[in-house]
Symmetry: C2
Subunit: 451 residues, 2 copies
């Protein structure tokens, strides 16, 4: 019923390809879903994938291309002539077609477009390429079924039969007026259950949610998620219907966003997967490590300033890892809560001031509890009372500072329209490490003079 | 067209409620989507929300309950008699009804169920409550349209009219045989476009993907995402159709999973939002901070062992923050890449050995580049050659160790069916901090004797 890719399967397929046994190789893939075939390509090299690809049904072959990872697709298409690429593009839904073509350099885009036979499809693609890919316009497809509000259901069904041929699946029929302005939707359920001589106006649902072409993808995802929508119509500034977004595209947006935020908080700068090359993985990881290294050098310089104090009380150094780690942990916690709230639009009406005040509350409780705990430990196990006092006071101060800083930075970034997720992870950790160290050494100098 | 919650809106609503002005208050909410009303409740207290709730259309009122956050719903329902709760439950889809009832203690569940008028609904809920909520059975709803494979399209349409009344929206019609075994689907598009005297067998799509009731939610999400499905039928061990899962429920699963992984990597142990209470936020954050504190104490003890060395070369302490931070950063990067690969099922066929070997490659490149950079810095700015050598050698070793450890731990957890995301964030950071320190001090002792 459902395909599961195994090592045995790939070995067998490899074997057939190696022996140029088209019949057996084709048997193995012909009934599979394009998404499964794309997964198989992942395990083959370009020549092997081509060996399979030429035998596929043209519709399937085109769909497989869409399902491939971007870099695999690029490698695969690079070896094909533009006419052949155009044939595949011709078979795709307009949104997928625009996505695939959008990855080409501009001169190649024109070349491929000039070879597309279906001029309506080519026109749709050109339209779609104009939109920023992170907006509703970039997500939408042009294929949809539209009916005029003045028709009756019979005309409507006739027209739908004509239009529906191009479409894989129909979830809604959109109703427009003579100026192409979106007026409402018809559900297929109601169409099925209503007598054919009635007017569309009788069964139209005018209570519709739509987005503009320039609505950001994140907002599109939030809207479809919130209202549990399967398809969402897209209108232009005159409220004319220009396309529709389906939930499967939005699921991809949600996944990609979540993955990106997750990678940022983990200090990874590019979209990588564990199956990528060593080189790709290194490139994605080294930038933040350099920033961490730079932070470490600053920390060493800060400590150089306090060298005399460290010389007099060498035990002071023992608690540096503790203070630095706690600053880092608290900062990441604070910033990630804000980043999630901003991403899911659940910030509520609290302004920056209120949020910081609340964070101060959380930080104070955490600070008191944790500094008391370390105070108790040091009181019994550390001889120097000045050090005991220093560690507790510094820990408390660092927790307060790191909490407020971790809350403040992503909120400010968001205010200036910069992605707040950039502030999470190594950035917050590095700054808090250094600040924590600085606070600790400052307090130590004061306390050792005092006690 | 689309509602946006503003502070002014809430202030005005507050005002109407305070003055007990039902007419004006109702005017403000009556045309809103249940998801919007739920958002409004978020800003009201229980009494204010009840003031609105009693005026809502019963269907809407029930849907609003489903859209509330779990703890808000609990607070809201606590004050209502079981008969009233049963009335709301009666209006809900079976999956939502089971989710709401499932949150009650067992005696309350029975009480509420005994008050549900529609016995079929009550039976469906009891069935659904048997399934683990993290499986396909826990996600599915029992409402679906089924037709027999032997009918013709006319009978089919007639039967659908009867069954469709209960359903908000119909995406697929499921075809079963006389034993209720799932045979295929009909698309509404095909039904609309085919002559009514033909047999269902002519237009059935038998190439269907289904899941068993005990398929984990994560797998359900991956399947629906991969194959771009809007609805997915659920079958029992005899392949009899027992329910269907819709994409909106799966979007929630995907979001929740992503949020959970994000929170774990940030050191937050419970599902919290920035709008939660200071107390809830503190409780979610303090457990990992205690572990960090514990790690810091261990670090202090490790340094105690090397006190003599630190006394002789106080500058050694300067690079402790650098080494610790780099170990932490590298470890989090490695573990998060593995956790993401495990979550999205994209590990490929590399075994643990191969993965570690690859990670060793990445770590070696990062290690060589970063230790060379810090070597160059120290060569010019640090007097002690022994320290220069120590820092570079320790940094290289720590990067190698942290990478392998960060890769190994989540893979092992996964092997033992423990959530690998538990290994990310503060756990990896804390262990790597301590190990990094230990490696650094060990190498320092050796090198200072040597150079």
């Amino acid at each position: 019923m459902q395909f599961e890719l195994t090592k045995e399967y790939i070995d067998q397929l490899h074997d057939h390809i190696e022996k140029s046994n088209e019949v057996e190789a084709f048997k193995m893939v012909k009934d599979l879903h394009p998404a499964d075939i794309a997964e198989i390509y992942d395990e083959l090299n370009v020549e092997e994938a081509r060996f399979i690809h030429v035998m596929l049904d043209p519709e399937d072959a085109a769909d497989v291309l869409v399902e491939l990872e971007e870099d695999d697709r690029e490698r695969f298409l690079k070896v094909l002539p533009n006419e052949v690429i155009a044939k595949f593009i011709n078979k795709l839904d307009s949104d997928d077609a625009a996505d695939v073509i959008g990855e080409f350099p501009e001169d190649k885009q024109e070349e491929v477009l000039s070879h597309i036979e279906d001029l309506e499809q080519a026109g749709d693609i050109v339209d779609l390429l104009n939109y920023d890919e992170d907006t509703a316009g970039g997500l939408m497809a042009k294929e949809l079924i539209t009916v005029n509000e003045n028709w009756n259901i019979m005309t409507c069904l006739k027209e739908m039969r004509r239009q529906a041929e191009d479409l894989d699946e129909v979830y809604y029929v959109y109703v427009i007026d003579d100026n192409e302005v979106l007026k409402g939707t018809l559900s297929l359920k109601k169409l099925l259950l209503t007598a054919t001589n009635r007017k569309i106006a009788n069964i139209i649902n005018t209570d519709i949610i739509s987005v503009k072409t320039d609505t950001p993808s994140e907002d599109v995802a939030n809207i479809m998620d919130k209202y549990d929508l399967v398809a969402l119509p897209v209108v232009d500034t005159l409220y004319r219907l220009v396309g529709r977004i389906t939930i499967d595209d939005v699921v991809d947006v949600i996944r990609e966003e979540a993955e990106r935020d997750y990678q940022l908080v983990s200090g990874i700068t590019q979209d990588v997967e564990s199956s990528d090359s060593v080189w790709a993985l290194t490139r994605a990881r080294i930038p933040w490590l350099f920033i961490g290294l730079f932070g470490g050098v600053i920390a060493a310089l800060v400590m150089g300033v306090y060298e005399v104090d460290l010389g007099i009380n060498p035990k002071m150094a023992f608690f540096i890892p503790l203070i630095a780690a706690m600053g880092g942990n608290v900062g990441v916690q604070s910033s990630s809560i804000i980043v999630q709230a901003l991403a899911s639009n659940s910030m509520g009406f609290e302004g920056i001031g209120r949020k910081l005040l609340k964070e101060l509350g959380v930080a104070s409780i955490n600070g008191v509890v944790l500094s008391s705990a370390i105070f108790a430990y040091n009181y019994f196990f550390t001889e120097s009372f000045a050090l005991t006092m220093t560690v507790s006071a510094a820990l408390f101060s660092v927790i307060i500072f790191a909490s407020l800083f971790g809350t403040f930075v992503p909120m400010m970034l968001d205010k200036f329209k910069i992605d707040p997720a950039l502030a999470t992870g190594p950035f917050i950790t590095t700054v808090n490490d250094i600040m924590g160290l600085f606070i600790y050494l400052m307090i130590a100098r004061a306390f050792f003079a005092l006690f």
